[in-house]
């Protein structure tokens, strides 16, 4: 089948990509645009490490045909990283050692960003519910929960 041009807004900039039907947002980000902060863990919606925000909602980019988000707003980890220093959620992950191998971290940070954007003061249970679809195999969940709580405090006092 022939390729088509799909336009969307990525991290505040308009982009156009030429894709075959059913090409996923993950493939577009990683292979067409070379934005590799969004990871590829399973390509079947099972691990959460490819989580990005679409119109502020967390989505698994590995299951999302890019045609479906034409004209919409996409934010990846690159989009929340400041030119200098770190976003408060990134700083909280760094300070609380909520990283081990680092492969789940991009998805974890994006899912927590989505949570804190709509619920600035979540309970621990709400954080656990939010990250339920994100797998950390180094089993750093405790420190990830602490980082999320710390990030909420930082964002509220900012």
């Amino acid at each position: 089948m022939a390729s088509r041009i799909v336009a969307f807004n990525l991290n505040g900039r308009d982009v156009e990509v030429m894709v075959k039907p059913l090409t996923t947002l993950q493939t577009v980000l990683r292979e067409h645009l070379h934005l590799t902060a969004t990871k590829s863990g399973c390509r079947q919606g099972g691990c959460g490490t490819c989580t990005v925000l679409v119109n502020g909602e967390p989505m698994l980019s590995c299951l999302l045909p890019v045609e479906d988000i034409a004209g919409q707003q996409v934010v990846t980890l690159e989009g929340i990283t400041p030119v200098e220093g770190l976003h408060p959620i990134q700083q909280a992950f760094f300070d609380n050692y909520a990283i081990q191998c680092g492969y789940c971290s991009p998805g974890m940070i994006m899912i927590i960003k989505a949570l804190l954007d709509r619920n600035p003061n979540p309970t621990r249970q709400e954080v656990m519910d939010a990250i339920a679809g994100n797998v950390c195999r180094c089993t750093g969940y405790e420190s990830i929960l602490r980082a999320a709580e710390d990030a909420a405090r930082r964002l509220q006092s900012a």
């Binding site: 990683r30 990871k39 590829s40 050692y97 990283i99 191998c101 971290s105």
Partner: protein, 455 residues
């Protein structure tokens, strides 16, 4: 915390810059910004992709492989078979003297497990490689398969190894053996004989990042291999041996691993990807799918362990006999070494004067097992500590006390002929009891690892 350990902790804080303190992680900023470069984040212009043609059956003879339909897939570049691999039969642990070689990089005339690689297909895109793989026509003759360690050792079981047995041969012996004292004499003297069998299952490491590498030809004739192996030089050496090239031809770049846990110490993707780079002159990426990671990559081996202990009324274990079987799956990988470690540790951290251990490395038609976090020792510890609880229950003794009474001390001879040095078992148990809020009786608190109490 006890006074002694608190004092040590205070000293540590005072005198060291790093020990006892939290230090910012060097790779932390890269991890939280997504700027850390993992293997799958690397790509090069003109990079090709490799996918494996895999066995759909557990055990069989390869009659014919027909690539004609695969070759017609747009983007197909070439196929690699066992004939292309300079030293096709290898065993990873040859580097530490384990032999003979027994695992093919690509199957020759037989497959021993479901998912075993038969041929590699290189194509311009991952999709084209997968499409071509799906069009390869395999003509296989299915053979009876065996999936249980004890079934594999019975007469009449399908024999999987060219040397005619389904077990690894340890210096001419059918298993790794430990003999210490006289275990039958110990059983004759014991007040109780306590027997049990323990089983553990295979476990997949399931790292979030799947096994992957990129091999790239360089203008100077060398090959740079970007890999997420946990064992960089081990992998480079095995790759050089398999490809029959000097080590200086290979430059391995690694260290960034998206989860390993032992699952990335086998040398699986690098030799064939490097060979593909040699044969095509292009960079080649070989990345496992999640399905391959789950179904094909090595697991922790499954174990079956038969324990027979002779125990006195006062709680002393005076004899222990263990017959263990590790399920290595179809090939060695790291299991012969796991079994040796197991044999050295399955008597537990206890002083037992009479010990008899037979630990078998057994081949079956399951996917190969290999390293995973304490492999060989972890199942031993599980079985030993379950057995300690069973002993305590059987003779009516406190489970803490049974462990203190039998704990090894400095100077004790272990069954595999190593003298215990720097023992800390008793101290660790005391600290554990304190952390768990368990009050130990006075006579146990008086014990320590560096000397035995005078009876």
């Amino acid at each position: 915390m006890s006074e002694v350990t608190s004092a040590v902790a205070r000293d540590v804080k005072k005198e060291f810059h790093v020990v006892g303190k939290s230090v910012p992680r060097r790779d932390g900023v890269g991890h939280v910004t997504g700027k850390t470069v993992y293997v799958d984040d690397i790509s090069f212009p003109g990079m090709l992709h490799l996918k494996m043609v895999r066995s759909p059956i557990h055990h069989g003879i390869i009659r014919n492989v027909d690539f004609s339909a695969a070759e017609k897939v747009p983007g197909f570049v070439r196929v690699l078979t066992h004939r292309d691999v300079p030293k096709n039969i290898y065993t990873i642990l040859c580097l530490i003297g384990v032999g003979p070689d027994e695992e093919p990089v690509l199957a020759v005339d037989r497959v021993l497990y479901k998912g075993e690689p038969i041929a590699a297909i290189v194509a311009e895109t991952e999709e084209a490689a997968m499409e071509a793989v799906s069009r390869v026509r395999l003509d296989l003759e299915e053979l009876p398969a065996v999936f249980d360690v004890e079934e594999a050792l019975k007469p009449g079981a399908p024999i999987l190894k060219p040397w005619g047995t389904n077990y690894f041969v340890y210096e001419g012996h059918h298993c790794r053996r430990v003999r210490f004292g006289d275990v039958e004499k110990g059983f004759a003297q014991a007040d109780y004989i306590i027997e049990e069998v323990y089983n553990t299952s295979p476990i997949e490491h399931a790292p979030t990042e799947t096994t992957a590498c990129v091999a790239k030809p360089e203008p100077d004739g060398r090959y740079t291999v970007y890999t997420n192996t946990q064992a960089l030089f081990f992998t480079m050496d095995n790759t050089a041996l398999i490809l029959q090239v000097p080590f200086s031809k290979l430059h391995f770049v690694g260290g960034t691993v998206g989860g390993g846990f032992g699952g990335k110490v086998d040398v699986i993707v690098e030799p064939i990807a490097t060979l593909a780079a040699m044969k095509t002159g292009c960079p080649v990426k070989f990345k496992y799918t999640r399905e391959e990671e789950m179904r094909v990559s090595s697991t922790r081996s499954a174990w079956r362990m038969y324990f027979k202990d002779g125990v006195m009324k006062d709680g002393r274990i005076i004899a222990r006999k263990v017959i263990s079987y590790a399920d290595s799956g179809a090939y060695n990988r790291h299991t012969p070494y796991a079994v040796t470690k197991h044999a050295a540790n399955v008597a537990g951290p206890y002083f037992i004067p009479n010990v008899y251990i037979d630990a078998y490395c057994v081949y079956t038609n399951r996917q190969p097992a290999s390293a995973m976090r304490g492999f060989g020792v972890t199942p031993a510890s599980f079985a030993v500590e379950c057995q300690m609880d069973k002993i305590a229950e059987t003779i009516g003794m406190d489970p803490w006390e049974i462990r203190f009474i039998n704990a090894y001390r400095n100077g004790d001879m272990r069954p595999h002929q190593k003298v215990v040095e720097d023992a800390t078992l008793i101290e660790v148990m005391k600290a554990a009891a304190e952390l768990a809020g368990h009050q130990l009786p006075e006579h146990l608190l008086k014990m320590h690892s560096w000397d035995r109490e005078k009876a």
